[in-house]
Structure formats: C-alpha cells, structure tokens
C-alpha cells in the first residue's frame, strides 16, 4: 500500500475567487505580508502497490482535476 497525494490547483491564468477571498481577508485579521493566495484541492489516496504512475496520472488528470481550468501534481509520499 502506498499513500499518494494529488494536489489540484486552478491554472495560473484562471480566476481563483477562493484564494482571493482569503488573501483579502488576511490583512483585515491583522496578518500582513501575504501577497497572494491560491486555493485548490488536496487528495490523499491509499493505493495498492500494483497501481503504476501512469494510472495515477490518468486518475489525476481525467477525474480529480479538470484540465480545462486546473493543473495537478501527483506525489507518492510513502510506500
């Protein structure tokens, strides 16, 4: 068994209202020095060792993210 992490983020040129809302709120809460925030999704998958990287990429690209508006990164964090 391996733990696989997939992070899915809005593409840089795509509007990210969620991240913007956080970025605008921080100074109001008294936290300065954060110039930009982007918010995406974080998936943690428990994966059988038989699942290869190519399959993981397919899952991430075709299902966990929407390639029209999002990018993704896959990492195996332990095995």
């Amino acid at each position: 068994m391996a733990r696989v992490v997939v992070d899915v983020m809005p593409k840089p040129e795509i509007l990210d209202p969620q991240g913007q809302a956080v970025a605008r709120a921080l100074p109001r809460l008294g936290f300065d020095g954060v110039s930009d925030v982007r918010q995406g999704k974080h998936f943690e998958l428990e994966v059988d060792d038989s699942v290869d990287d190519e399959t993981l990429a397919k899952i991430a690209e075709g299902f966990l993210s929407n390639p029209v508006v999002e990018d993704f990164v896959v990492r195996r964090v332990q095995s």
Partner: protein, 757 residues
Amino acid sequence: MTDTVDNAKATPEQAQPYRELGLKDDEYARIREILGRRPTDAELAMYSVMWSEHCSYKSSKVHWKHWSANTTPEMKAKMLAGIGENAGVVDIGDGWAVTFKLESHNHPSYVEPYQGAATGVGGIVRDIMAMGARPLAVMDPLRFGAPDHPDTKRVLPGIVSGVGGYGNCLGLPNIGGEVVFDPSYQGNPLVNALCVGAMRVEDLHLAHASGTGNKVILFGARTGLDGIGGVSVLASETFSGDEGGTGRKKLPAVQVGDPFTEKVLIECCLELFAEGIVVGIQDLGGAGLSCATSELASAGDGGMHVELDRVPLRAKGMTPAEILSSESQERMCAVVKPSDVDAFMRVCAKWDVIATEIGEVTEGDRLIITWHGETVVDVPPRTVAHEGPMYERPIERPHDQDSLQANGPEQLARPSTPDELRAEILRMAASPNLASRRWVTEQYDRYVRGGTVLAQPSDSGMIRVDEQTGRGVALATDCNGRFVKLDPYTGTQLALAEAYRNVAVSGATPLAVTNCLNFGSPEDPAVMWQFEQAVRGLAEGCKELGIPVTGGNVSFYNQTGSTAILPTPVVGVLGVIDDVRRRIPTGIGAEAGETLLLLGDTRDEFGGSEWAHEVHGHLGGLPPKVDLAREKLLADILVAGSRDGMISAAHDLSDGGLAQTLVETVLIGEVGARVFLDPDQDPFVQLFSESAGRVLVAVPRSEELRFTEMCTARGLPWRRTGVVDPESGTLEIQGVGEIALPELREAWEGTLPALFG
C-alpha cells in the same frame, strides 16, 4: 512591441491572422476600407469579436424585419424598451417596469459544464442590471443528449450545479426552466438562462455614453486572461480557440465565475442607481471591453477616449488586444458626470468594488484607445458595434422535409386494453422527459428574496414585484424541438402557445415575449430555412396574440459534427397579475369536492409527441394544429376565472397529454381523483394526444355551473372529466383502472435520481 496606429500605417503589408480570429477575407477587406489602412492588433481583436456571429447577429439580422412588420402600435405601447437594448422593458402598471431576457451559453457549457452554466447565469443577470433594474429571479431552460449516455452524466450534473452554484450564491430565486433530453443535443447541450428584473418606470437606464467630458468608469472584477477568444469560439464552427494573434500559448476559452463578486456588484449598482449618478451603463459580457466601449460610444452622441493601461489587471504582461477581448466576468462600465465621480467612487468603496476611471466621452465621433500614451485603436464606433456585416444566407427547404412529414405516427402500435393503457401511463410518467424535475430543482434556491409565489412544480414561475399592492409577474419558457423540426413555423407557434398558456394557467395576463433561438449552422441552407420559418412563425403568432417580442438571443452552430440539433427556438412569455394572492396553483385538492373540467378539443395528434418518441423512438408526421385565437380565449377565461375565484387549481396539457397532466395534478396536490373518459373517443387518444389549447381546471362544486356557463357562452368547449377524491388515495381512470399514489409517485420521482444520483 505594441502595434500602434502609426505602426499600422507604416507597415500596410504586414500579414494579420484574421482568419484564425474568425474573419472572412471580405470582412477583413472591409475593415481595411473603413479605416483606410490595416487595423492594429487591438483593432483587429475588437472587430473580430464584435463581428462574430454571437455579437453581430450577421446571419440573423436580415430576418428581424418580421418583428417590426408584426408589431402593431398597441403592442408597442406597453414597451418601454425593445429590441436593440440590453433587454426589453415593459410597463406592468402601478409605476413598475419589468425587464427580462433569455440568453444562451451552450458551447462553453459543453467544454466546462459547471463554469459554463454558472457564467451563463452571471451574464444574463448583468444584462438586466444594465437596464437599471434589480434582478428578481432566474430560469434555466436546458437541453441534454440521451439520458443514459455516459457524457450526459458529466454534462447534466455539472450544468445543474453551475446554474445553482451561481444563482444561489447571488441570491436570486430560480422559478422555473426546462429539462429536455434528445440525442441530437449529445455533443451540444443547450444552456439558456433567463433573468427578470424590476425598477420604477422613471429609473430606466439605457446604455448611452452621452455628454462630452463625462467619465467612463470600469468597475467590478479585475481583467484577466480568461475567456480570451471566447466570443469567436462561441460563434465559430470550432471549439479550438485561437492564438489571439499574440503568440501566447493557447488559453482556455472558459471563464470562471465569482458569484460573490457579482452579488456585491448588484448591490453596488443599485445604490449607484438610487443615488442618481449613472448617466449610462453597460455590462461586460461576450467581447468584454471591446463590446462595452464600442456600444456605449456608438449609442451615444459623441466619441470616446479610453486609456487602456488604466484597466486593473489580474495577469502580468497582457497586451491591448488581450485586454480588449478578455471575457473576465463580473465587470460593468458606467458613464458618470465629472462632478459625480467622487460619489460614485464612495459607493464602490463601501462595497469593496474596484472602480477605475478609464476614459471619457469626447467631441467628435471616434473611439480612441491609447496604451501608455500611444494610440492603438482609432475607429468609428458604429462600424464596430452596430454596422457589422449582414448576410442574406441561402435558404432551402430540406430535401427530406416531405418524407419526414409523410412518415406519420399512424402506423405505430397503440396500447388498447385497460392493462396496456395503465402500464403506458406509468411508463410515460417515468420517462426522462416527463419524470419529476425535483432532482434538478432541489438544487436551486426558490425562496430567497421572499417574493416567490409559484415555482416548480408549476406551469409558470410567479414572483411578487410590489409588496404593498401584490402586483407580480409570471414567466414560462417552452419549446418542443420535435414539433419545430416537423414544421418550424407551426412548431414555433406551438412553443409560443404553450408558454402563453402556462402563464395564463397561473392566473396572469400574458404581456410580452422574449426568445432564445438555438439552431445549427447558418451556413446550412436547410438550417436557415428552419430559422426563417421560426422567426416568421413567432412574429406572426405574437401579432395574433397581441403581445410584442421585446428581445431575444440567437445561438447558431449548435451541432455535433455536421448534424444539427433539433431546431430549438425557446420562447419565454411574461405575464402580469395585479394581485399574486389570486394565483392559480397546479395541485388539486385545496378545496373539498372539486370538479375536474377539461377545456379545449382533443384530436388524434401524435406527430412529434412524447409518446411516439418515448415508446417508438419515432419522429415524423405533422405537429398538432395550432389555434392562437383559441389560446387567447382560453387565457381570457382562465384569467376571468381567477379574478372571480372560480378556479381552485389548473394545469395545462402539453407533453404526454392528459395522462401526464393527471399524474402531475394528483401528485402535486397529494390527493386522489376519479376520472371519466369520453365514451365516444378512443381512450388512448384522450390520454396521450398532445393537441394544443387544452387545460385541466379544478373548480369548487359551488362554482361549477357559473364557470361552465361562462365557457359555453364564450364558445370554449369543456367536458366534465372527473372529481377530486380525497378518500381514495388513487388515481382512478374509468375503463383503465386504478393507480395508487405511492406507485405513481415512485414512477414519476424515481427516474432522475436513478440516472444522476
């Protein structure tokens, strides 16, 4: 290096990617002729988006003559603004003006269902705001491919949550819509969105940039790289997008919506209107700043100078062409007197809305746009906004139209025994096109704003406009694309008749019409024939009913490969009711001992019917007969009956015929009924025919005589068809059998959840 006007003059021979931007050779030549030189990159971007099918209506405009030819002075009298404005405006009385419009967002919703549908709602709401109105409610007529196709499972849930995600967050109740399945929409679903808004008559704002020296203020979201090329993509043959002539990598022609920003923008705009500091206002939708600046300037009485480098950006290194064609959402553009600019900025600051003075109204008649002091656009704005190309596309009746009409439904096997008829009622109730829409509508807030009087499941959506007097409006949208395919002229009139009837059935008086004409490629003469027939049918139908077309929208190139969708001219009818408390609900059983009366004539009409489609997969023959004089009489009687408190419930007959109307009335009313069919007519025809001009009404026994005498006196056929039976808990149809309500409900409500989870 920025392509300035000086540079364009100096390099007349420089090749330009006009074809990639969707312009034809002769269109490009015309731009050169207008300018007396080659356009700059920025000018080319503006002309290409503004001359796209979507913005210029170049294939459809020649047919608008039918609207004007069929609008009488009496019809015009109710209209405060009509075709040509952002949205039509009608006077509903008590000093109220109501504005409403339908728009399509079909292609983006196929590429990215959630965002495509969400931004479709956002766009139509800004159109309504640009009239000076407060948006009050939305509706969403939708069309999808086969219900069991795997791609429909991607497209439908995404679109529904996009419509809901945006509209709910905006605080606009969703008061109705449509969900229709047909394989012709498989690669090309239809997402039409309607918004209705209201204002006091004196607060009407039109999009004009007048008054030399007045300031042009851009407010709302920052401008980013999203949706660039969206317009040309929207309206051109392909989805492939373009390079924007800038060498930048291909960008997704999809916009991401931010409903929170739009909600704040609505409140901000309303406060600005209330302060009386807006001279002109325009929303930024398709074609973004290109559209807003050229339309404001074109409709005004002067020129305009815009300093493009002042536009607040979200992305680094954007070129003037990109800024002009960006379709970033949630932006508006206002013209404001210099003395009011401070007040304007104060209101925006209160709502945390970014507002920037980007230019001013000038003497003369040029739209001049500069970029860090250099001129990148210098054009006559009318040539961009209002004097685009216009095509008289070839029209030809399809070769197979005759054989389609000849292949009638007469040969289809019909159920005849009681058991067969009973099974057919359940099968039809559970069919995807007739099953309960609750799975969809539960995802929409129908209560917000506290004015919703009727929403799903109901023939029309109704909202209260004036809390003191109770004055309100009702809206319905309809279109049976199969009827339109069989006979576009009649089919479109049937769509009009159904929407008109749905409004009248709720007790409101139909007043005005909008439309969204969804068709295949205008370069296909057969499609243009359908289109021309549809426009003529609608225009002439409206004249006969005496209600004007106040605006609409055209969406062409709806096809999968070379196969066009069913022609789908969605018709929206708006009605007015002086007091929403006398609305007529759909569900029976509110009053003890109601009688069910069927109004209208039932004929053997199955061409294009839901039954032929669902049971036999058949489409052929002729659609039902349309009789608009009858529809008008029916509406008069329904409104009179509502006024005099004679009708306790009503539901019209449309898709699925009487059987489906009965199923819905008993399930919505949660009460049983006993129904007697006419012994002299085939039970199958009585139950499933889709003859137009019919309504099932429930009248309290005490009113029965008065009501039927009124019908007889005015020449409206009626038949006593049944009684409400609160004890039984079944729908009992004499000669067919009984169906217990739980069994019926399971059939009707189970289908969409089973398909879409």
